[in-house]
Amino acid sequence: MSLRAVTAAASAAATRGNGDHHADDHGGVMTPTLYHQFEDVEQQNESYLVGMWTFLVTEIMFFGALFMAYSIYRTAYPATFLDAHKFLSIPLGTVNTLALLTSSFTMVMAVNANQHKKKWSLINWLGVTILLSCVFLGIKGIEYTTKIHEGLYPGSFNYARANTMYLEHHDGKAGHEAKGIYPYFPSVQELATGYSLNRITPEDPRAVGVEQTPAGPFTSYQGAPSDVEYWSKRAQLFFSIYFAMTGLHAVHIIIGILMMGTLILLALKNHPYITQDYMPTEMIGLYWHFVDIVWIFLFPLMYLIS
């Protein structure tokens, strides 16, 4: 059988198959651009799909290495991780998880709208997804600034100061007994003068020396000064991993937002990628769900250590 016959048979089958699938909802048949290296749309679409999954495998390994480092240090320093995670706000983390899960749902709705050639529905769902991811990033920003303000950023680490501030803001309660959050918003001046790095120096009067650490609710702080230093260093390790993992995740979110914004622009321009094809949306959807899955694991591992 020659190739031409095979192709002809496949396209005949394709014509017949149109009636029984979702395309009948709105009558339109997708006729994506067929690139010259492919024989038919089926091959093209499946190649996209396999290619995207192959890329996602690299992403899994990319984050997987960090999860590996996390697991190794957590099994090595369980008590430190237990102590240090209390500086993370569970309400904020939960809201963020909620936002991302919802954005995953709105993303599949966007793909669904694209498959049914509902342009404005697609744009709306994508808009909601972008909005939710901006909420996520905003909350993340609040968390980061709070951590930096407390002295929990590894580059300007001051565990004792964080401990003190935490106790002040939570009426001496620790862990899950402490209700509420206290977000910290940096002033414009602070942002302008290099807020993030090495802000608290040892000479800074706000820096509380480790020797003067009050015996707080954190059990690791009861002990000799050398112990305080020991725990402080290990807590810094926890926050290193926290910033590395959530930072990398946030970078992925930003890339996702940019790609979804591009999709909206293409839809507004009635670009054939949107009007005649749904694979671009589907691909970005796959990416977005992957980002969601990473957070599904990050949330209990970072915020909910018990």
Partner: protein, 183 residues
């Protein structure tokens, strides 16, 4: 052997088969260019609701110390991870539509996670280390006991009494390892 492999992986560009490795794996698919069976909106909604419920379980689990009921401290972590895996499977199966895709996609979806298991062979080293991680701070009056390679289980030894100075009685810190601060 040719044919079995071809069916497993699907053969490119050869839906009908010319007798040589023509795949029969294409049978179920509608040939309209959108060959993937996509779930309905209803399934998306159900999946979303299930994810919300599981999120509730994840957060709720944090406030319940299951080790009171099961004599193992890792039980909370284990269940939290199982819940996370179930959530991820929901997303992969329904949102990422692996159930409607070909075996090949399924294979690739699984591969990354399988390789993470391979990578966890690093624990082979870390669980059997005879030396602690990192640089140890100066702790002249402490000795390390207990399982090595994990957070040092610290015991205090009273410092030798210096002639002329009163011996200090150091406060023992909370035992490291599994015993965290009291909830």
């Amino acid at each position: 052997m040719n044919n079995t492999m071809a069916v497993t992986f699907g053969t490119a560009r050869n839906p009908g088969g010319d007798g040589h490795g023509g795949g029969s794996g294409h049978g179920k698919r509608p040939h309209d260019g959108t060959f993937i069976q996509h779930p309905t909106v209803g399934l998306y909604g159900i999946t979303y609701l299930a994810l919300l419920v599981l999120l509730g379980v994840t957060v709720g689990l944090y406030y319940i110390d299951l080790s009171k009921f099961v004599p193992w401290h890792g039980i909370n972590l284990l269940i939290a991870m199982v819940v996370a895996v179930v959530k991820a499977l929901f997303v992969i199966r329904n949102f990422m539509n692996v159930q409607g895709s070909t075996k090949l996609v399924w294979l690739w979806a699984a591969l990354g996670f399988i390789w993470l298991v391979l990578m966890s062979g690093m624990f082979l080293d870390y669980r059997t280390r005879t030396n602690p991680l990192g640089w140890q701070p100066e702790r002249p009056n402490m000795i390390q006991t207990g399982p090595r390679g994990v957070e040092p289980h610290v015991e205090y030894q009273p410092a030798p009494a210096q002639p002329g100075s009163p011996a200090t009685a150091p406060v023992p810190p909370a035992a490291a390892g599994e015993a965290g601060p009291a909830h």
